[in-house]
Symmetry: C2
Subunit: 372 residues, 2 copies
Amino acid sequence: MAFALRIIAADGTARAGVLSTAHGDVLTPAFMPVGTAGTVKAMTPDAVRTTGTTIVLGNTYHLMLRPGAERVASLGGLHRFMDWPGPILTDSGGFQVMSLAKLRKLDVDGVTFQSHLDGSTHRLTPARSVEIQHLLDATITMVLDECTPFPATPDEARASMQLSMRWAERSRAAFRPRDGYGLFGIVQGSVYPDVREASAHALLRIGFDGYAIGGLAIGEGQATTFAVLDATMPHLPADAPRYLMGVGTPDDLIGAVQRGIDMFDCVIPTRAGRTARAYTSDGVFNLRNARFADDAAPLDPACACPACTRHSRAYLHHLFKAEEMLGPMLLTWHNVQYYQDLMRGLRTAITERRLDALAAAVRAGWAQEEPP
Amino acid sequence: MAFALRIIAADGTARAGVLSTAHGDVLTPAFMPVGTAGTVKAMTPDAVRTTGTTIVLGNTYHLMLRPGAERVASLGGLHRFMDWPGPILTDSGGFQVMSLAKLRKLDVDGVTFQSHLDGSTHRLTPARSVEIQHLLDATITMVLDECTPFPATPDEARASMQLSMRWAERSRAAFRPRDGYGLFGIVQGSVYPDVREASAHALLRIGFDGYAIGGLAIGEGQATTFAVLDATMPHLPADAPRYLMGVGTPDDLIGAVQRGIDMFDCVIPTRAGRTARAYTSDGVFNLRNARFADDAAPLDPACACPACTRHSRAYLHHLFKAEEMLGPMLLTWHNVQYYQDLMRGLRTAITERRLDALAAAVRAGWAQEEPP
């Protein structure tokens, strides 16, 4: 079982395909729910599967601190630990070190930091990050990189990108290839097309099984995100998967798929599910709003998840008002279902060469959407 | 569809039967998980059904305050609201008024109290309690009573019981009989056999579809609980269901089934599920305990729930340490499964006239049990 993406249809720059892995196939474009600490928050693995999810993301930073990579390995790996036999992509830990850890100190070889849990000191290098992901048995390993902060000057962006490229090379050297497993490089370069292009070429010279675009959706705004994609995508090989990290809203996903992105991860659907924000074909609702107290209608009549087929908006409103755990459970399920239904629709539309028409129809349905 | 209990087997004073109701049959002895505010905490209705649960309990006090009985009625009743088409028993609200509400004031006609949620003033009388339960569409309605505090002097117990009997009469008068629906009276009388007997006779004179035993498991200890049962059961009709309210541990359930109880409710399995306490055939474990961090064994090899068949003790330990919602979700599911498996075992043992042998075997398995 080779790790490979087979493109089965294209519509403009968008493409639909099948990514074959040691742990099963992933239909692309694919959305990966985030399973931070070995669980997609508030969902059983069965519920995750039911939404049509084929691949989930795990967080190296969280798992290395608790329960520990060696422990997960001794318990049979992350697939077995969390009962997810399908593909798992793990991030490198770098992003969370910079956003969550205390007293982090970056040097040319890696980063030293204190755990946000207990203050203990840890060291993450490209080789150790890859080793941790190997211990977790990640289907797709990400290179350690520095997510260039936004905003950054061109010089800062280039220096940060060059550090990431050195780390990418070390990550590649540390990676132990296995059949059906892959290692992805990460394009950095902030909002500067020339730096992004240089990063893409540097990664291509090293050679990876897939290419991610990092350092976006961190405050630059959707128009800039899309402009960076437009400038970067032509420099990525057509036959390798392209993964836009940490993105995004449903609208972001549509725009990025139109630009040729194959894979996404984002906490939005799960986090929103815990805070009463519902993503629906009619837009985004906050279920705590009093207008839902007597609303007997289903949350989204177009959705087949249990929240929509078994319950009323009034019941979901009640669960959030009463702070019942079933509220986050049902709404997380719904939001992930909404995201996966959207991806399924996009895949089908690409195959039928009607992606722009679908995108317009979906966006029209969001007339009521509150700003995200 | 008449509301009726058909006894199908007996073993000593224990009996197994089928309670027919408007919303389906209940195999007895039955355990009712508590669905306080219209949800069995941390479980989907599908998960509740999967455990073999046939009847759940709803709390009048919680539901009258939020979302409100009239609102539930306008949304189609509690069955539809919470997606539980099966039988639902609702309590009268009296117990929670005395344990949760602020500034409660009891008089001969009822109780006035302030909501623990917003301080608003409410009044609960026997007629209003029955009306609320009618609005909720409860399959089984409980009379409003006073749960006599423990300890109480004989005079206090008798006076309190007499008040409850007056309320039982008013509850009966307010109840609107419907085919397949039932109204249960509640025996009070603290720990005094003569007061319990007088209460039972008073209820029989009024006439109910079932008889509950209230005012127990509130600090008197298991030996006293069982002594009160021994003194009370002979005064209850053999052909009506007998419900021991708010009880209890697995050991309590076994002893009460041996004494002829048909129905139970208790928050123990669900509450314990949220606090990492696991009920298993080997006894009670606290999954936060560090000894489980590397334990690859299933929580309870005898159990078929997802927590036990899909995951290790180490994973469940990790979920609780990481405060992931999936910990309470999986462990609540397991604990309810354990309770329902226990009830199924007791029903089968009664049918096969080997209840005492089963009870001894189950208790032997609990050798490691920590004190509950």
